[in-house]
Each structure stands twice: as C-alpha cells, then as structure tokens.
Subunit: 470 residues, 2 copies
C-alpha cells in the first residue's frame, strides 16, 4: 500500500540504548503500558482529528532490523547478545486506540501499548513520528472544511511540504475533509482523487496566453481548468479563457474552470464570475489558490466570493503555525505497578494504569462535551473529576456513553483488516458532525471537558503522595 517501509533504525538512539539496558538487565519481558496523548489541542482549537493509525499499525507489524542496520549498531558499540535479539525482533504487544478519524481531546489517552517493556519502548519514536504529524494535518484540514462549507478543497502542498512529510500530509488532509490532492503518489497509494491542470510555466512557454490556453484545451478537453493570472487576470486571463471556452463549446466540450492564483481573490472572483456569466459560461467553475488557510477561506466565504473550489498548500501540509503536535508517549504501568511522572508543572503529571475513555452523549446522540478517563476494568463511571482542580466535578449518571478506545492489535497482529482512507474520512466526517460548532470555532472555542473517574483519581493521588513523601 504505502510507498514507505520504515526501517527499524528509523528511531531515536536512546530507544535502543534503553532497550539494551532492559535486555541485559533482565527486565525486558516486564509488562508495561504506555499511553499516547497530546497536552494541548492544535491551533488553539477545541479538538483534534486522530489520524495516522493505519499507517502506524502497518509500521509496527513490519518492524524489523535488517542486517545492515545490525552492522551499524555493532559499530556504535551495542552488545552482541542484544543485537541478536534485534535480529529476530517482532512487535508482539497489544494496542488499544480510538478509531482513526475520531474526534479527540487534549490530555485524554488516544492510544495505549501494552506488552513487554522492551518492545513497547522500541515502538515509541515510530508511533510519535507517524501519529503526531497526521493528527496535526487532519485537524488543520478539518478547520478548513469547517470554513469552506461544501465548497471543494484540494491539497496543493507537495512542493512546500517538509520533504517526504508531504506524502502522509495528503492522506491526512483527506481524513480531515479534503476532496482531492495534487500529489499523484499519495493518490495512487491511498485511493485519493488526484487533481491538477497547468501552471504559469505552460502559459509562459507559449508566445501568448491565448495560444497557450488553446494548446492546452486541445490536449485536454476534459476537466480543463485554465490559470488566468500570468499577465493580467481581468484584462487578459479571463477574456482569453472565455474565448477558449467558446471555442471548446464549438467542438462539443466545456471549459471546466478557471484558477485565480494571485491578487485579491474576493474581488477577482466576483469580477470573473460576472464576466463568465455574461459570456454564457455560467457553468465554468472558479478555483482559487494563493496562501490560503482556514482564516482566509472563512473570510472569502463571508464576503460571498463566488469561489467553487479552494487549492491549499503550505498552511495545510505543514500544519502552520503550530508545525507540530506535542504528542507524548508516557509510561503508565511497569514493574508490577502503576507508574507516574511527577513534575513542577502540574498539568504534565501523567495518569497511571491501563485506561479507557467514556464519551458522554446528549439526547440527540451528539457529544455532550465531556470525556471521562477511567481504569480499564471500570464498567461505567458515576462521576468525573477535573484532573487538577479539586473544586470541579460532574455527575455522569444517566448519560448515554460510548467507549472511545478499542483493541486494534493483539499480540502484534491487527484485530481487523485495514480501513481505506475513504472509510476513515467518512467516519471523521460523521464524528465531526456530532461535535457542536462551539468547539470548532477558531476564536476561543468552548472547552471540551476531559475528566477522570473516582477510581483513577484514587490510584493517581496515592502515587503522587508516595513520591512526594519519598
């Protein structure tokens, strides 16, 4: 499926250094639980769209160390016994996770790995590298979808992507709500519609704009979209596109669209729409690109700019301005007991034990606005507490609840066959539909509550007290 096979050494050196210490120290088989979570919703927003899971599961299933990698690690001074272990390495842990495309929230565990500590440790960098980035981009894309309504959204970002990051960015964009991508390989590997027609260079390579439009329309009468801003959008580009569109009609074809790529997009779209309509080309669509992000799209929609499709590049595929999701992978159980990390920054104190997440639903089946993190064994939760503010708690009795995480791997094997990007995108769309708009708005979104159950709170507070005494 993917053009990528992650090598075993696609990791941070310290994962292997620690793994060797577990191996040689005889603790490698000790059962451990790690949680993947992020501490802040991206883009100062109210939620995130979880993405990257299917790629991550494939990467874990295929995780191997090749002979050349073993040789390199030997040069780095690793122990021969440990290298022999790596040579036969297979990932055999259990993984629980939210479904890919799920709407998730800061501080709540999104994925958990349970198994021998040495394997769970080795998986850390790979999981973080895949999940952090795709979740960032899927969330960014969902914000653009929120702004764009039902207008088309196309990913144009590959040229400005962070190198090969552009490959998975195109996948995540569709999960977040994009319709298509310019990225041919991502389209091929992930079954995403591909889109794109011509650039300024094609126009410039001809002696004049009309000659270029004619040459292109002749070669590509289907889905022909002409770029109209190479010289002067309203005085040259749009009139030449109209002339070309009329010639296409004579041959029984229809010009599909024009693309605006510079200048004031609202003004130009309105003028171009009027010119096209007046020429009887009301069916020609207007595509706009050029430094767009969710805020620019929102503004264009508010101005009633007659734009049918937005092409978005840099801000989408790089998840600008955040550029990274701060996802972490924290130890919750090891050495026969619950584990915690204490720090001066209270909100960075971790939650111990294997856990599960209950989501409260309102009467219409929409999200009520609260997730309760509980111990894995709890059948239901009666109340949830703010993790740190002892004054805040909420009775959860009588609410319909959903369990957000489910087993996705047992003993290192997937529990079900991989979902297509199309299926994941449909699920994300449905879940975003269950989230009220107040959580989606860009400025100061309503805060979705993530709390902890009585029993989880009790375990955590005992651990804090023990370490504070020590």
């Amino acid at each position: 499926m993917s053009m990528i096979r992650y090598p075993g050494t696609y990791t941070d050196l310290y994962q292997l250094t620690m793994a060797q210490a577990y191996y040689l120290g005889g603790t490698r088989e000790n059962a451990a639980v790690f949680d993947y979570l992020f501490r802040k919703n991206p883009f100062d927003g109210g939620y995130a769209v979880f993405a990257g899971l299917e790629d991550a599961l494939s990467a874990l299933e295929e995780l191997r160390f090749e002979e050349r990698e073993i040789g390199f690690l030997r040069e780095q001074g690793f122990d021969a016994r440990f290298l022999e272990y790596l040579r036969g390495f297979r990932f055999t842990c259990d993984v629980h996770a939210a479904r890919e495309g799920e709407v998730v929230f800061a501080t709540s565990p999104v994925l958990s790995v349970k198994g021998p500590i040495i394997e769970a440790q080795i998986a850390e960098t790979l999981l973080l590298n895949i999940l952090n980035f795709q979740t960032l981009v899927a969330t960014k894309a969902s914000r653009m979808r929120f702004a764009a309504g039902d207008r088309s959204l196309v990913d144009f970002g590959l040229r400005r992507a962070q190198g090969l990051g552009g490959y998975h960015a195109s996948r995540a964009a569709v999960i977040g709500g994009f319709d298509a991508t310019s990225n041919v390989r991502a389209g091929m590997d992930y079954g995403i519609p591909v889109s794109g027609t011509l650039a300024h260079s094609f126009i410039q390579s001809h002696d004049d704009e009309l000659a270029a439009f004619r040459a292109f329309a002749e070669q590509r009468p289907q889905n022909c979209i002409l770029l109209v801003d190479t010289y002067d959008t309203l005085r040259s580009g749009v009139p030449n596109a109209i002339a070309t569109g009329r010639e296409m009609e004579e041959r029984g074809h229809r010009l599909a669209g024009i693309r605006l790529d510079s200048g004031d997009l609202a003004y130009l779209a309105k003028r171009a729409r009027a010119m096209l309509d007046e020429a009887g080309l009301g069916y020609v669509r207007i595509v706009a690109s050029s430094q767009l992000d969710e805020h620019a799209i929102k503004s264009l929609v508010e101005q009633a700019a007659p734009i049918d499709a937005f092409g978005v590049g840099t801000s989408l595929v790089t998840g600008r301005p955040d550029a990274a999701l701060d996802g972490v992978y924290k130890l919750a159980f090891a050495n026969r007991g619950p584990r915690i990390k204490i720090t001066e920054e209270t909100e960075k104190i971790t939650l111990p034990q294997l856990k599960q997440v209950f989501r409260l639903l309102d009467g219409e089946g929409n999200f009520y606005g609260a997730d309760a993190v509980a111990l894995a064994g709890e059948k239901d939760v009666e109340a949830m507490h703010h993790p740190f503010d002892t004054l805040k708690s909420l009775s959860t009795r009588g609410f319909a609840k959903e369990r957000i995480s489910r087993p996705v791997m047992r003993g290192g094997a997937r529990t079900q066959k991989p979902l297509s990007v199309r299926e994941i995108a449909a699920f994300a769309k449905a879940r975003l539909g269950q989230l009220e708009d107040e959580y989606k708005r860009f400025g100061r979104p309503y805060v979705y509550k993530v709390g902890i159950s009585d029993r989880l709170k009790a375990v955590r507070d005992r651990l804090i007290a023990r370490y504070r005494r020590a």
Copy 2:
C-alpha cells in the same frame, strides 16, 4: 545511500498534465531554462544555507516511472503515447547550482535547469520538495549554531518531525552546524554521529530513581548521560546522579553527563554545576533540552548558564515558525526566447534567461555584502542595479568576485561524485565564517544586496515593456 527512492509519481498531477500537452503538442524538445529561487530569507533573517542538493541530484538521476505507476496514470486518462514516453523516461538536462552548503540570498537564482521543457517541467515538484525543506532546516540550524558558539548541538527532533520529513531534517541540521542526531537511520545513511541515552520511562520503570541510574550505568558505563528531572531535579535527580557517578569512579569509569529536560534551565544548570563541582565531578557535562530554539539558546548563553550541550527538537526539524521556505521554480527561457512572469506584485516579476551570480568580496576575502545576477555569458559585471528601485545601483569595478553557481549535472549525469554531509557541513561553516555577524543577527539583520547587471536589466525591461504594451 538514502533510505528513500523517490517514485516518478511523487509529483503534482499538473506536471504530468503539462508534460503530456508538451508531448502531444510537439513542443517537448524545446529548450527551456527554469530557475529555483526563494523570495524571502527564512525566519526574517539575513541569509539562507542552501541544502538538499546532493539528494536532489540523486533523485533526478534515479527518476523513473514504474509499471504500476504507468497503470495508475492510464486510469487517470493519460494518453497511451505519452505513457510510452514516461515508461522510457530519463532526466537528461543540465543543472547549474550553488554548492550545497553555500550561503545564499532571497531573489537570487540558486539552481537552474536547462534542457527539454518536458523534462525540466517534470523535475519541478521533486526539486522544490527536497530543496525548500532542507534549506529551511539548515538555515534554522545555522541560527542555533550562531547562538550556541562552540557548545554542542544535538538534534532530538524525530518524534515531532513532520513524518518522514524527520529523515532529511537530521541531514540538513548537520549541514547548518549541528554536531549529532538522535535519528539512528539518518546517522547510518549520512554518516552523522548519533547520540542519546535514556528517557523518563526508563527511570519510571524502576522502583526508584537511584536504582534506575545504577542499572543504566552498569549496562552503559561509556558515554552515560543521566536524565535528572523525572521527580525533582535538585533534590533527587542531581544527588542520585552524583551518587551514581561516584560509584562509577570506583569501577574505573566516569559519568559523562546529566540532562536537564524541564524547569528553568539557567537556574537548574547553575545549581547542578555547583553541586557536581562540589562533589568532585567537575568533568560531568550538562546537557539541556526542552522547547529550545535559537532565541532560548541565545538567552541561556547570555545568562552564562553552564550548559555544555543543547538538545533541540521541534523548532529545528520543523523550521518553526516559518515551517516552509517559499522557494519557487520559474521559467526563464523557452520557445527560443527569454521568458518572464508579470504580476501586480512588482517583487514577483521574474528574471529572464540563463543567468549566473557574481559575489563581491572585500579586502580580507569576506563577503562584501552584494551579489550581482548577470546573464550566463557575461565575463564580469561593472555595475549592479537594484531590481526594482531605479535610484539604487552600485559600481562593482575593482572588487574581487566569485562565481557562485557551477555545472553540477550535464545531460542528466553528475559532473562530480557526491559530497559527504561532513564535507558539505565543513563548506557551510567556512562560508558562514565569511559572512559578517550583522547579517546573522536575529533582530533586523543588515540587508545583503542582490542586484542585476546592465545587460540582464536591459533584457528584462524590454520584455516587461513588450507585455505591458500587449
């Protein structure tokens, strides 16, 4: 060398749509020149460090379309004759470029591709994807190097990188001045020193911190760096590290360092240094990490924090806050004549023809602060003009000058064997040494001048006049 082989379809669809139009229109062999340049120095800085060239040249040499890709393109409606062409595709253009690691400036052409327009067009996305990102990260790294002086800099970014972008980020970081990376695979493929010891999870997996330190030091007495902030840096971490260091001495070893990963790094470094020195462990180095960027490093250095090495993650590998370099690939010659793109935004008007860049040197062999862009055939330049402000020009007579670009590919084959990352990094270091600090400072850096020669200006102005008349 690289773990990546770029497939031919790792491109924007419109490159192939245009290529098909050139092919079927009979213009595919027309000679063309494209320039790669960026319009704004990254990070509001005064320069950029050019990186990614060797990877880009390898990608061009290896550029092929595989049968599965041809099949996918057939489903997308591409013409059978064009697909037959793609099946035998080889990149045969000439490429001129600045050396990798060169200090380069906005608006000046950094790389040019000359050859059949169909091939030069197909190369666009690949070149932009590779060069934009590595140049962004190498420049970011160089700013951190400028702030850090001769302290060690280590890349810790893989977990927060934009997916696979992390692979090339580690390479570019070293070109910009980093010493090592945590990224094992990048270290292996690019000959970069790898570095890393342990994380919080290792400490937490033991019943107490001292037991964890002892277990780790026993398994790894060489280059052992202990992470001291899991519970309480000054009351637990540093005292336990000192105890471990003393036990190591008894066995004839030396604790290499401690790592601070949270809290006020300046304060903690000073206190930890005093505690280590008092314990006779003056040789133990202090490594600091946690949300660092060039500004944080500069501040720590100004506060005389006794930090020997900085571990930098997110801001380095994502090139935050920019997250992308706005590099473009513009047509300068085609269809037997110079080409230009006119736009309302004057500074986006392109420079026609195949060009070269002369760099002025001062009496000491340092950069004088001005590059002159000239036509390829010019032996020397007598004067350079501001590209748009007709009042500004500079006589360049009597200056020693260097030619910045050179042939790097002829007919699609490299003109010399690939350089190692170590060689490129050494060149970048030397070139950054020739650039005065005024261009490197973070706040309002001195503006390095990029001008155009008399003859280039004449060609460009003739073209502008022609299009404005039309």
